[in-house]
Symmetry: C2
Subunit: 523 residues, 2 copies
């Protein structure tokens, strides 16, 4: 397999010379219908409002072939050491199905290992949901609280919120889910003060079993249980762990049970492992989580296609590279037209920025071109009344990724002025894509819209578990492909280390570091 | 008063030639203690880790004087027509106290008008909170729901969340507050399905009384009340309006009461008007809201200081301009180390991007330099486990604005490994500032931190109502000063219009527009 930096690629040199098309001039009904590709799980990727044409697509194909992007994806799913920084395999795809060859590591078949965890999650969540497992005072659990941070928090939280309305409408019995993540004690306190502790099950999530924030918040919970003075309550019967087999939590006697992940699942890629599986199966039942896995697996398989125009994740990745490295756009906005996806942009912010916010290549050599962009976003139509002003009329071009669905989740709606809210929502979505693309001239320059602002659209009939799985996989694979293009390692995060070291130094009294001490004295 | 574009300024030409200082080399205890200025309300602004020195500060003073920034602020508070696009006064400062001369408009003294509304809010919120006003079935209200979008939603929501923990710890009796904003029917449904309607008071917020999203969500609420079949419930007795005197809602008989704002308070600047006042006074009592106003007013007065190094909002604004227009940074991250400020970055995103995301000057002429940056952020320590990787080791420099407090809100904490969570939280905050500023060399390039990443810090003892008011005012005034520097109008938002027009066209069947029709057919 060839690894080379993007600025050494023949195809990229050609792509750099390929001027953007003027979206205003080319956008028509034919293009809207044809610049479209399935992304799995009922999801489609639409890129008619991107500043590219056939020449760009041909060169992106050349680039993908020259860099062997699909070959590299095969290397991931076949269990090669693709996390070069930490010298680890990268196996999150395997948590939702087999995409490549059998992978054996640590003396075990990894697919079987993940399947065993899934079976265990199914049994446990069934038992909790049907009352075979009760709280220590004999009451049924009605609330689950995930204690975790980063990948153990953002992904599961975004997915929980994304499916809640749909499950309620489907009359799936749901347990309420809450999350505690921040080391700020107010985060835990705000959640704990509203809990019925006898009916709450806590899920402690830490791969290493040593994450400072998570263990501290566990102790805040234990204090609260103790302080509640509830007769007969036994904290050990209200807590399970999601951790690695070798962590101190794995065999702790103060846990009701433990579910395992391993070093081959990065935190930000762990939503389809036990990290997302335990809480989502408890909240909505195992079948809902299993549907999500099926949708993600479907999208994983589509991402094997070597043809750029038939591979949504690959195409999205390459268009992103064109915007970032040829058109020099430093940011990307994620704009879901679904309130259920309110925290999905925060998850993608981690997924993308922690994976590709790097300045060295996979061999540790400095890169001379921009890598991962800043990712931000809020649901539409809310964003329209907020930061869209800058997107329309600001001095910088911000590429946009819209997400939309034909139907709402609750299917409860009202007709006002001859249309439902859902119809209005999507009318706004369509209007925005066209407004950004086409703009509008005006004799008053303050009312002029320059247009030519690129956007793509991921859409489906409805946001159910399968579609959500595909949406998650789409972005994971997009980020992976972009990492390949930039020739960096998307799977480590050395950038988080220095802060940890210095925080420990502060807690130990600054050890004579005058700068740390002076800052500490402000508080 | 002189108005000129930034690229016509002598002082800016000089500032552009002034190289950044190397933060790594200059950061020491003395600088940390001296690069500090009060921001009012117990808040201080600290900028030791910004790449500037005495030369920059002198040139910023020259720039401020040359452009008459304080003179322009006087023009705002003295009631000149500073919203040039819409030809309106800009009076949000007056909602929290008098900063300038008496302002008479529409035949009334505006300070008296805002005071009258405050008195009305006090009476009404007292009556609801002490049970003199009951729900239509005779029960006391325990929940308030704000129906509004954009400025009627983001600011009040951020402030409500920011004060909840503090009020609970102070044993202030609190009413639960909820918010419905998105036209997505799932947003309303998720809120409504959890309400005890007999005990809920709705606040309908729309200046014009015609905002599509807001009226549609009002109707969803009315449908739900009707469908509840609660005996004797009368929706009219469960809803108040916050609107302008001339709006259709002002005199509606289907409202329990109405509170007034006017055209001189922009949505994103309305948190200290009745838009924020009604819900915050209902939720926490009028005194808490009044403390917030006092803190904001205090900061407003400090912002009159012509001396750059003694005016936190002005200095923050000018440093931001240096980062944006000299060092070419396109984004800024807002990083509050307080879970209570979880939605504060979303409010600032609107405040900043909608105000200064403009490409024409106040006279409608095209600008040739970058204006407002992209604003994004999440609370620390959560962000540390998410997007900080890119901030530390990405290819772009992202300026950072940290916010921190010595004490937590709930004051409930636990000692783990010899320190409380609050101590750990601030140890992390301090560690991050220093890690970003100083970086760290390493023989392994993947573990290398380049440093030189600029940050500032707003900090106070505790996040109470007064401090929060000052924090809000600080950012409002910062954004205002930056708008003056860029010579644009920060107070209109023409960029939201085209989307509205096209959405209406879609709802009317696209009127033969093939592009709109083709997009609509995807849904």
């Amino acid at each position: 397999m060839t690894y080379k930096n993007l600025d050494q690629c023949t195809a990229f040199a050609k792509l750099s010379q390929c001027d953007p098309v003027q979206i205003q001039q080319v956008l028509d009904a034919k293009r809207i219908k044809s610049f479209l590709v399935s992304a799995g799980g009922g999801l489609a990727y639409q890129y008619a409002a991107m500043p590219i044409g056939k020449d760009h697509l041909d060169l992106m194909q050349e680039l993908s072939d020259e860099l062997g992007l699909i070959e590299k994806y095969h290397a991931v799913v076949n269990g090669e050491v693709m996390n070069t920084g930490e010298k680890r395999l990268v196996l999150h795809h395997l948590t939702r199905g087999k995409v490549g060859k059998d992978v054996v590591a640590d003396g075990e078949d990894k697919f079987s290992f993940y399947q065993q965890q899934l079976e265990k999650i199914k049994r446990f969540s069934d038992d909790v949901r049907n009352g075979a497992i009760l709280g220590s005072t004999g009451k049924r659990f009605n609330t689950v609280v995930q204690i975790g941070i980063g990948g153990s928090d953002l992904g599961p939280r975004a997915l929980y919120l994304a499916l809640k309305g749909w499950c309620e409408e489907q009359q799936v019995e749901t347990l309420d889910a809450q999350f505690i993540s921040n080391v700020d004690p107010d985060d835990a306190q705000a959640v704990i003060s509203r809990l019925d502790l006898e009916r709450t099950l806590f899920i402690l999530v830490s791969k290493s079993g040593t994450t400072l924030e998570t263990l501290t918040n566990r102790d805040l919970v234990l204090e609260a249980i103790k302080a509640s003075n509830i007769s007969g309550i036994d904290a050990d019967k209200h807590m399970v762990a999601v951790t690695s087999k070798t962590s101190p939590l794995a065999s702790s006697s103060s846990m009701l049970d433990a579910f395992f992940i391993d070093d081959y699942i990065g935190g930000r890629y762990s939503s389809t492992s036990a990290v997302g599986g335990v809480i989502l199966s408890l909240a909505f039942g195992f079948e809902v989580f299993n549907d999500l896995l099926a949708g993600a697996h479907e999208a994983d398989l589509l991402a094997l296609n070597t043809k750029v125009t038939e591979n949504a994740a690959l195409l999205d990745a390459l268009i992103g590279v064109y915007l970032r490295n040829v058109l020099s756009c430093p940011t990307t906005a994620i704009l879901p037209y679904s309130q259920a996806l309110s925290r999905f942009p925060a998850h993608l912010q981690q997924l993308d920025m922690e994976s590709n916010g790097k300045q060295v290549n996979r061999d540790g050599q400095a890169l001379s071109y921009p890598t991962g962009p800043v990712i931000f976003g809020e649901p539409g139509t809310n964003g329209q009344h907020s930061f869209y002003q800058l997107l329309h009329q600001g001095t910088d071009i911000i590429p946009l990724q819209f997400i939309g669905f034909s139907e709402s989740q609750y299917l409860k709606d009202v007709v006002v002025e001859d249309s439902t809210s859902q119809t209005k929502l999507n009318a706004n979505l369509v209007a925005q894509i066209v407004a950004f693309a086409q703009g509008k001239d005006d004799s008053n320059p303050n009312k002029r819209f320059p247009g030519g602002r690129p956007s793509s659209l991921l859409f489906a009939k409805r946001l159910d578990a399968r579609t959500l799985g595909a949406l998650l996989s789409h972005y994971e694979n997009k980020v992976m492909f972009q990492g390949f293009v930039w020739n960096l390692n998307s799977f480590d995060q050395e950038g988080v280390q220095l802060g940890k070291v210095l925080a420990t130094k502060v807690l130990n009294g600054c050890e004579g570091d005058e700068v740390l001490k002076a800052y500490s004295q402000l508080f």
